[in-house]
């Protein structure tokens, strides 16, 4: 097990800059999640760590050792490939045994059998061991690919969306299992996903990747509550965060935010928060983007004090709750509602924003400025870090 460091790693495929100066420092025994949209360069980072891709610039270090010139076989990494990459001519058992039968990582046949039994049991596939990959479903193949990595004791586990093709129930149980297993094995694990839930549930820390660059690194809470820009804020959270423009104006004892709802100007008072106020003053803020999570948007179907009017664009269930989307002119507001409401499309809905939960972003650069209650979230992140 080892600490994995990448320093300013760059990699291009032809004219496409796949990685543009990636620097990460994964601690020993950490569960590190790479999270980002498709084509962001997550898999290329794993390939650089495994030695399959050669970075043009930058350093890859395992512990204190520079690994740039070490071939994949000698790096002792276990990798789960996104497309499984099982050996088609071998049974599941032989697939899983393959690393332990190579000259470099040789183990006795008894030990191999024991470890495969354990891995098969954890991945719930004891009945599949004698089959060929062509006789497996995609979910089963994915479990075999996981099992092939788990039987080893490598420097680092590299997992490329290993749960993406499992059915929902199995995925949830695997997620729990995986986290526990990683803690028990005491192994470093770098995990690629584009599932927000997986990233939050598994990662000790999460790195947000976009267009070959690291956008933000932090614990799940840090990134969720204090996203460094609007891109990250939109990536983290389901349903997506609401972001809309606002103008800021000073009042007698504080500030107001004015937003446009269907052509009408709505004035919302910004509650008092010394930190927020000082940032607004400091910047002489006139315009900003406001971000607010759907759970902080309240709705009513009757006119109420402090609520503004809008119309329902859609109402759909996302499992144990539903999302109401309200039309507000240039943008839409998402809010959480219980299931089973009788909501008609285009009917009136009255909305209240809980302004003491908003995040302020810069109007131009879309960068994070400040949020309400920032100190308590910093403290929360710090306490998690200590654990």
């Amino acid at each position: 097990m080892a600490r994995i460091q990448l320093e300013n790693v760059k990699k291009a495929f032809g004219k496409v800059q796949a990685l543009d100066g990636i620097t990460i420092d994964v601690k020993d025994k950490e569960f590190f999640v790479l999270f980002g949209p498709a084509g962001a360069g997550k898999t290329t980072i794993l390939n650089c760590i495994a030695g399959i891709a050669m970075p043009e610039e930058g350093v890859v270090k395992f512990g204190d050792e520079v690994m740039n010139l070490t071939d994949p076989a000698h790096r002792n990494v276990a990798m789960v490939f996104e497309n499984y990459a099982l050996y088609p001519q071998m049974t599941v058992y032989d697939n899983m045994a393959s690393a332990l039968r190579s000259k470099l990582y040789k183990a006795s046949e008894e030990e191999i059998a024991e470890r495969i039994q354990w891995a098969a049991k954890t991945m719930k596939m004891e009945n599949l061991l004698e089959r060929l990959p062509s006789q497996l479903s995609n979910g089963q193949k994915q479990r075999v690919a996981m099992g092939r990595a788990l039987v080893r004791t490598p420097n680092v586990f590299l997992m490329d969306e290993p749960l993406a093709h499992l059915d929902a129930k199995l995925r949830n149980s695997m997620r729990t299992e995986l986290k526990e297993m990683q803690a028990n094995l005491g192994s470093t694990c770098i995990y690629v996903t584009h599932d927000f839930m997986e990233a939050m549930a598994l990662g000790d820390r999460i790195a947000i990747i976009n267009k070959g660059k690291i956008v933000q690194i932090g614990t799940g809470d840090e990134i969720y509550y204090m996203p460094c820009n609007e891109f990250t804020a939109q990536l983290m959270g389901e349903p997506q965060i609401n972001i809309f423009e606002a103008t800021v104006a000073a009042t007698n004892d504080g500030f107001d935010a004015k937003i446009n709802v269907c052509g009408e100007e709505i004035t919302l008072a910004l509650p008092k928060d010394d930190n927020v106020y000082s940032k607004i003053k400091e910047q002489g803020m006139v315009r900003c983007d406001i971000g607010i999570r759907p759970q902080n948007v309240k709705y009513s179907f009757e006119p109420k004090e402090g609520y503004f009017k809008s119309t329902v664009y859609s109402y759909e269930s996302i499992g144990n709750k539903s999302v109401i989307v309200a039309e507000c002119g240039d943008y839409q507001l998402r809010m959480i509602a219980p299931n089973g409401l009788n909501v008609e499309i285009d009917s009136d809905v009255y909305i209240k924003l809980e302004m003491d939960h908003i995040i302020l972003f810069d109007f131009e650069s879309k960068e994070y400025i400040v949020r309400y209650d920032e100190a308590s979230f910093i403290a929360l992140a710090a306490s998690k870090e200590e654990e």
């Binding site: 399959i52 076989a73 497309n83 050996y87 062509s134």
Partner: protein, 274 residues
């Protein structure tokens, strides 16, 4: 229960197949029959004749037929062997690596098969005379590469391209060296393609006539050229000719039957996400 219409269709289908089978097999059957006929009976078209083994005795025991067969085995087998040794790595390179003018190179290899043999054989004859490859095993094996190598490279390349490159990566990560990966992981996957193309290459080389006719004379005497001997200048011994042809067809048939079980496709399916 089958309806009358279905039954009629079934009968018709089988009838047509039988007609085709007779059409396809009759020349071969006739050839085999001729081998048992004496020269005087060769031209009779009835199936009644006095069977004799004289032709077999004449060809197999009293001529150099065994040597001709051996020569054919050496040059055809040698040609296929060289093609496999050279062609498999070439196919791998064409499938996996990117280098400038790759497709042009692949096409050029294929283009060796475009020219009729008779077109290239004359210049080759003169070159072979000059550099001392005329009438030698090496010379024939070399020129047979024009027949067998393009075929093998193109078929095997397709098989390599079907194998996901991640399988190689996975094996590297599992601790295997390139050679181990090649022989343990890749060769089993390309085997059906390799076997079938090698078999075809062998048959083409075995049946090749123009090259050995012009490029060899006494020292190397493949069976295709040797058969001509039985068409004597004054008399044609059709019975002996038939024996020589029949026996020369056997090795390819036997070879094909032996490796038939390796000709299964579909091994490489199911390895990666489909």
């Amino acid at each position: 229960m089958k309806t009358g219409k279905q039954r009629a269709l079934y009968v018709l289908q089988n009838f047509l197949l039988i007609v085709y089978a007779i059409f396809a097999l009759f020349p071969l059957i006739w050839m085999v029959l001729i081998t048992f006929k004496s020269d005087t009976e060769v031209f009779t078209t009835t199936f009644l004749f006095h069977p004799t083994l004289a032709n077999y005795q004449e060809v197999l025991l009293r001529s150099n037929y065994a040597r001709y067969i051996l020569d054919s085995v050496i040059v055809s087998g040698g040609a296929v062997l060289v093609s496999v040794i050279v062609g498999v790595p070439a196919a791998y390179a064409l499938a996996r690596y990117n280098f400038p003018r790759k497709e042009e190179l692949a096409f050029q290899i294929l283009s060796y098969k475009f020219a009729p043999e008779i077109l290239v054989v004359l210049p080759l004859f003169m070159i072979y005379q000059k550099i001392g490859l005329y009438d030698s095993y090496v010379g024939l094996i070399w020129v047979y590469q024009l027949i067998s190598l393009p075929l093998l490279i193109w078929v095997v390349r397709g098989y390599f391209e079907d194998i996901s490159v991640e399988i190689e990566y996975a094996a590297q990560v599992d601790g295997y060296s390139w050679y181990q990966i090649f022989f343990k992981m890749l060769v089993p996957l390309i085997k059906p393609g390799l076997v079938s193309s090698a078999l075809l290459a062998f048959i083409f080389a075995w049946n090749s006539f123009t090259f050995p006719l012009i490029l060899s004379s006494n020292k190397v005497y493949p069976v295709t050229v040797a058969i001509m001997k039985y068409l004597g200048t004054d008399s044609a011994h059709y019975g002996q000719l038939a024996v020589a042809s029949t026996v020369s067809a056997l090795p390819a048939v036997i070879f094909a039957l032996c490796i038939q079980k390796h000709l299964v496709r579909g091994l490489s399916f199911g390895a990666v996400k489909g």
